[in-house]
């Protein structure tokens, strides 16, 4: 299981990188390598050119300004996991990234790699969706911003051309302290989840849901924001019935199936996990309210 021959390039700047990309016909970008390298080792992917962007330092950064979090595409998963600023403003990142692979893969794997690979159950695209993030891609001519909803064109296919490179993701974090939870079900620790659910929630002193965002991963080819459910929940009291309501509406999501799991099972899981994530998020929101 050895990769086919390729020509290796290692640009040091973004401008070198986009220049290369516009000139090469059959190139693959090598970021953290945790998805591309196995596919090359198995010769599922045999590019003529490999562009290693690990030397492009300007793509590796974490910035938090005015409740706006911007993360460079080459930022390692481990660095997001350990970043205190992110944890303070968006604690769900740590909870979600703890599910991503293992220490040996998080030390190489990047946020950009995950957003471009787009495994349907991956945590990082789900977080992007949860926060209505937008992505910046650059080519020789300039840059464009894409909302996460438009980023996923089809199964594992991002909206990016052969000449473009993803440079950063911009995440409007929630201003106020809030409840959160990211709960997923994987067969084993660190496996790609079968299904995952993330929730952000604010409740008022009367236990009324005032703001909520819910995302589910692994039921469709892309992470799904449950906007109808979110609208329904606003103004509702955080009771058991409300949780059951969320559960039963989540079970109606149209779900994909594959050789491992059926549509029905994914729907059942979506119901379970959304209910559980909402429950935990509400409980955490209550604690914040009580402490605050």
């Amino acid at each position: 299981m050895k990769p086919a021959p390729f020509k290796y390039h290692d640009p040091k700047t973004l401008s070198e990188l986009v220049e290369l990309m516009s000139n090469l016909e059959d190139a693959k970008i090598l970021a953290g390598g945790q998805s591309l390298m196995p596919m090359m080792n198995m010769r599922y992917v045999t590019p003529e050119d490999v562009i290693d962007i690990n030397g492009v330092n300007e793509l590796d950064f974490i910035k938090l300004e005015n409740d706006h979090l911007t993360i460079g595409s080459m930022t390692r998963q481990k660095d997001i996991l350990s970043n205190q600023k992110i944890f303070d403003k968006a604690p769900i990142f740590r909870e979600a990234l703890n599910h991503v692979g293992h220490i040996q893969t998080r030390s190489r794997g990047t946020i950009g790699g995950s957003l471009c690979h787009l495994d349907p159950s991956a945590e990082i695209p789900a977080l992007a969706s949860l926060y209505d993030a937008s992505l910046t891609v650059v080519n020789r001519e300039g840059s464009r911003e894409i909302h996460i909803d438009e980023w996923v064109l089809a199964y594992m296919m991002p909206s990016i051309s052969d000449e473009e490179v993803l440079t950063s993701i911009s995440i409007p974090v929630w201003k106020n302290p809030h409840g959160y939870a990211f709960i997923e079900f994987a067969r084993r620790h660190g496996d790609f989840a079968v299904c995952g659910a993330g929730t952000l929630v604010e409740i008022d002193a009367n236990d009324i849901i005032s703001k909520v965002a819910i995302v589910v991963a692994g039921v469709d080819v892309k992470p799904l924001r449950l906007s109808t459910l979110e609208t329904d929940l606003i103004g509702k009291k955080a009771t058991k019935d409300t949780l059951e309501y969320a559960c039963s509406s989540a079970k109606k999501i149209e779900a994909i199936s594959d050789v491992y799991f059926s549509t029905q099972y994914r729907q059942r899981l979506a119901g379970t996990l959304i209910k559980r994530s909402l429950e935990v998020a509400i409980e955490r929101a209550r604690i914040i309210n009580n402490d605050g």
Partner: protein
């Protein structure tokens, strides 16, 4: 002579090298000029090769040769020889070294490319132009068993490889007089090998000496030597097989595979060493697995839960070829009564070809299947009669006074199945105590009140171990007093060197540091069988004991002559023989060795034989039977179908333990293998015979995060069949594990009337069972 080392937790002699990263596995061995091989393998489950053109592949820079069937010369162009012939095999079909015309499973080797590097060899694979005509494939074994099914081999009329029956007692009478006749049906799927080192071969043929040396990651170097000698029609003395450090075995690495022939052939043709390292994807499609067997059993029992008879049928997926004869089939039937006294049995088994990877034993062979089946029988009776399953076991166990107990069946080695010793009742009580079984139901009730579903499961088993016919051990002392021990039994991590050292050190009263052990090299020991079936500890332990004792006797006899003292007055301490009462009267083992091995002109002392050495092939006098009772606790998440194994308790009896630390390591590792079988490992084929999950992201091996704490306690009933009282321990962890887990899951889900009829138990399968007759709000 006190036992200083036998029975002690002696740290392993093997470890320092391995820990420092200086172990020598096959791929680590470097020979000058080595070339590297890769195979073109069939992408189809069943097809005819219409044409094949290797011209372009041969032209690639760095490629030295490309071989297809047509280039394989006489006498190698014959099918692989059956190592385990049996009259019941109806169709003894084995593949060719490289496919001849027909391919019968995805992964079957078609062409072998030899190049400067593995990278280049793989580069050449897509350059081979090949045209197939695909044929209908037989994939699902129960369908393949039907009369008009597509056949796995184009020239066959059906897929039945063999039909077996075992029986004893009066089955008709038993069933007609039974209070209850119950049924249970289930699928068992045990997955693949997945040793962390795959198969690996480095073959080096020396033409000037006409000698072949092959390093192979095998459990059975002597089987490989014998098979290669047959295929190449070469004397065994010209073939040396070395099994160096080997990264796990687990059964499938005990077989003889086409790659052994092809690498040796290529080395002979090219005059250079040729290395082939199986990659992980190849492992999934070429290394034997142990997949589906479907069981339908009928049970006769009385109102008290005494089981009088079991009858039924097994359909076993053989895969495309039958490289282990009927060993797997027999081992899933002959131990079937387990620790229970059953009056009659009548079981048929159909062994059926399919267009999938051949099926051969994985850790435990058919024994885990047999144990699982019998535990299903127990659970079925318990459920029907509403009598606790521990109590049903107690009522059916073979009793202590019954030993030696003959079940009425015949082992595949031809001898009656006879249990030598044990105490199954006490063993179960030990396991129940360890698991705090009596208080479990209170824990379960409390957990249920908190919305948690806890369950407990029991599994009891026996294991026929130490199967002969022999393993040999030579013990020799040199003139420096160093002791050399050699044996045929290769190790794949079981610590053979350590246990051999322990036994010999005690018998000769020498220090461990003075003992050098060599195993797994056919040039170092003349004959061997192999490291399979929990047999090596018993066999080499017994042989080492006997050889070392003979050396001791020999040394003491000569010492008595030289020191002019009585034999009984002599003792050995740290390699020095002395008179017990006159402690300054001494002679060392080295000096004795020198006297027994004089150089030219000297003489061996009269009445003594040359060389302070002895070889023994003494085996156990029959098969010692180990036994175990396991209890495990699980929690089932009914929202996801996830099963968490909370804890796992093992009470195990393998007689006298040479090294308790190593025994416990075997048990714990074996349990985890069994948990993998119960919950995770599944080799999935689609309806066309394409394997679906040929990577470790999708084929799920147990990880540290999902494994429970495993507690092990021992009961020691020494086997009367060998002088050290040994029984085997390599598979006793795996054999009962799946049954314990499955029962525990059912127990957790009692209120949903869940009866599990297959393993591995996947979360979706479990959710479907829960939902089937219940409207669950999760």
């Amino acid at each position: 002579m006190g036992a200083r080392f036998f029975g002690a937790d002696v740290l392993r002699a093997e470890d320092r090298t391995l820990l420092k990263g200086s172990g020598q596995y096959v791929d680590d061995i470097r020979l000058e000029g080595t070339l590297h091989g890769a195979f073109l393998r069939s992408p189809h489950a069943h097809a005819i090769i219409k044409s094949i053109d290797t011209t372009k592949a041969k032209e690639l820079d760095g490629v030295h040769a490309v071989y297809t069937y047509d280039e394989i010369e006489e006498p190698l162009n014959q099918p692989i020889k059956q190592p385990y012939p049996h009259p019941l095999i109806r169709k003894d079909i084995l593949g060719y070294p490289l496919a001849k015309e027909e391919v019968c499973h995805v992964g079957e080797a078609i062409a072998f490319i030899v190049a400067d590097t593995r990278h280049i060899a793989e580069d050449a694979i897509p350059l081979i132009e090949i045209e197939f005509e695909t044929l209908e494939a037989a994939v699902r074994v129960r369908e393949a068993a039907l009369p008009n099914a597509p056949t796995a081999h184009k020239d066959s009329k059906d897929n039945i490889a063999a039909e077996l029956n075992i029986k004893f007692g009066d089955i008709e009478d038993t069933f007609s007089s039974a209070d209850h006749v119950l049924e249970t049906s289930f699928l068992q799927h045990r997955g693949g090998c997945h040793a962390m080192e795959g198969r690996a071969i480095l073959a080096s043929y020396n033409s000037s000496l006409d000698e072949l040396t092959s390093w192979s990651a095998t459990q059975c170097p002597y089987l490989i030597r014998r098979s290669l000698a047959g295929h190449f029609q070469m004397p065994e003395s010209r073939i040396r097989i070395i099994s160096p450090d080997v990264g796990g075995g687990f059964g499938p690495k005990a077989g003889f595979y086409a790659e052994e022939i092809i690498t040796a052939f290529a080395s002979k043709k090219l005059g250079k060493p040729v290395k082939w390292i199986e990659d992980r994807q190849e492992h999934f499609v070429t290394t034997n697995t142990q997949r589906d067997s479907w069981w339908d059993l009928k049970i006769a029992c009385d109102n008290k839960g005494r089981i009088s008879g079991v009858r039924g049928k097994i359909i076993t997926d053989q895969g495309a070829y039958i490289p282990w004869g009927l060993l797997l089939a027999f081992t899933s039937m002959t131990p079937l009564p387990g620790p229970y006294k059953i009056l009659s049995m009548d079981i048929d088994q159909q062994v059926v070809f399919t267009n999938t990877v051949p099926n051969t034993p994985v850790r435990g062979a058919g024994r885990p299947n047999a144990a699982y089946a019998m535990e299903r029988v127990i659970e079925t009776v318990s459920r029907h009669l509403k009598i606790g399953s521990a109590e049903i076991r107690r009522r059916n166990f073979v009793e202590k006074k019954d030993f030696p107990y003959k079940t009425g069946l015949i082992h595949f080695n031809g001898t009656p199945m006879s249990y030598d010793s044990g105490d199954y009742h006490q063993l179960l009580e030990k396991a129940l105590d360890l698991a705090d079984f009596d208080n479990f139901f209170e824990r379960q009730k409390q957990a249920r009140e908190n919305g948690q579903f806890l369950g407990i499961g029991i599994s009891s088993c026996i294991e026929d171990t130490g199967n002969g016919p022999y393993e040999g051990v030579t013990v020799r002392v040199d003139t420096m007093g160093k002791v050399y021990v050699s044996s045929g039994a290769a190790s794949q991590g079981q610590g053979h060197k350590t246990v051999l050292t322990q036994i010999v050190a005690d018998q000769l009263s020498v220090n461990i540091e003075d003992i050098h052990v060599e195993i797994g090299d056919t040039s170092k020991f003349p004959q061997g069988v192999g490291t399979v079936a929990s047999r090596v500890g018993v066999n080499i332990g017994t042989a080492a004991f006997s050889a070392a004792n003979e050396v001791r006797e020999k040394a003491l006899n000569l010492a008595a002559d030289i020191l002019e003292t009585d034999l009984e007055d002599l003792e050995i301490e740290d390699g020095i023989i002395r008179d017990k009462s006159r402690k300054n009267l001494t002679i060392s083992l080295g000096e004795i060795a020198l006297k027994l091995a004089p150089m030219s002109g000297g003489a061996v002392p009269a009445g003594h034989s040359a060389s302070l050495e002895s070889t023994s092939y003494q085996a156990s006098n029959g098969m010692p039977h180990a036994s175990g009772s396991n209890v495990c606790e699980v929690e089932v998440d009914i929202g996801t179908g996830e099963v968490k194994v909370l804890n796992y308790c093992v009470a195990h009896d393998c007689g006298k333990k040479i090294n308790p630390m190593i025994v416990e390591g075997q048990i714990v590792g074996g349990v985890v293998h069994g948990i993998g079988n119960a919950l995770f490992e599944e080799m999935i084929y689609d309806d066309g015979g394409q394997p679906q999950n040929t990577n470790y992201g999708e084929y799920l091996l147990p990880l540290a995060t999902e494994m429970p704490p495993i507690k092990v306690i021992h009961q020691e009933t020494p086997s009367p069949l060998n002088p050290l009282g040994l029984k085997g321990a390599g598979e006793g962890g795996t054999i009962p594990a799946a049954a314990a887990i499955v029962s525990a899951i059912e127990n957790a889900l009692t209120e949903f009337n869940v009866v599990i009829d297959r393993y591995p138990v996947t979360p979706e399968y479990l959710c479907n069972l829960i939902d089937k007759e219940n409207q669950i709000e999760v």
